[in-house]
């Protein structure tokens, strides 16, 4: 058994130790809390969230996918193939296709035969391969990938042809 003085010294020694440990723990919390807040704020505001792709529209059709995913568009006409790589034109074409896809009441019955008509095949290409294939005739736009076809007005058809024409590159 220790004397009272020894016990008192031990009390103070242990107290010092516990106070130091408490200070260390408080300091760790003081550092960790702002760090966690910073990381949370960074992940919320700086990093791009996955919300854009999960809003339900992504599954609708391939043409609605954001323009940066398409890096090239191949347009095959009568015996010739044109590749469009200009970002502005790619955006314009994909936007036009998406608008036509989403426009209500324009859809024809699936499997409507447009094979005989003269037209163009539009292939949207992403870095990892073809994303969607469309067949455009004077009055019909067919999504070959999904098999759906939609009727076009004369103006819509003319606008699409104009976008796909090689002259559009010179006069965008």
């Amino acid at each position: 058994m220790r004397s009272l003085q020894e016990c008192q010294a031990e009390v103070f020694r242990r107290s010092e130790k516990r106070i130091r440990a408490r200070r260390r723990a408080i300091r760790a919390v003081m550092v960790c809390v702002p760090l966690v807040l910073c990381i949370t704020a960074f992940s919320l505001f700086v990093l791009p969230g996955p919300a854009d792709t999960s809003d339900g529209s992504g599954a609708k059709n391939d043409a609605a996918s954001p323009p940066p995913s398409i890096c090239r568009i191949d347009v095959s006409g009568v015996g010739q193939v044109t590749s469009i790589t200009d970002e502005g034109r790619i955006c314009a074409i994909t936007d036009a296709l998406a608008a036509l896809n989403n426009s209500p009441g324009a859809e024809l019955s699936d499997g409507s035969d447009t094979a005989g008509a003269e037209g163009r095949t539009i292939t949207l290409l992403a870095p990892d391969g073809p994303q969607a294939v469309y067949r455009l005739t004077d009055d019909t736009l067919t999504n070959v990938t999904t098999g759906s076809a939609m009727a076009l007005t004369r103006e819509q058809s003319a606008a699409l042809f104009a976008l796909l024409a090689p002259e559009a590159a010179e006069n965008p």
């Binding site: 058994m1 220790r2 009272l4 016990c7 009390v11 103070f12 242990r14 107290s15 408490r22």
Partner: protein, 183 residues
Amino acid sequence: MDAAANSYRRFLDGDESAFEEIMRELFGGLVFFINGFVHDPHAAEDIAIDAFSDLVVHRHRYNFRVSLKTYLYMVGRSRALDYLRRRKLLRFTELSEAHGLADDSAALEELALANDRQRRVNAALAHLPQDMAAAVRLVYFEEMTYAEAARVMGKKSKQVDNLLYRAKRELQSILGEEGMELL
């Protein structure tokens, strides 16, 4: 405010020597009280040191509404029960150790208990359940009121009263008629 609480107030105001007064007044009794739970004077001393260390580390935890002795005994009891839970105290001890412990227990008893009468009761308390023995130690050895003892034990005054009544009957059967006179 009791003398120990007064000393603690002075210690909080910066008078380091006041802590020695508290130690001198309460340390021995606390070790003896804790030893009633752990049955190991060295462990009891260790736990008592930790309880006193609480006074230094958590300076604003004691609110001066109860006596400092009651507060310290509450901390001591709680720490003793923690110790027992941690160690799941077994009765298997080396004979050599047991011999040493018996010596130290006797020394501690001599230090804490003023007279032969109390020592005889303390020896009989070993046969009583823990709560009963603790109630007797607090009320008859430490001279606490029923309310203070109840506070230390985490019970109501009436429960302490019942414990003491049953303890007296038990002591009577252990010590004979003399047991009633001792308390």
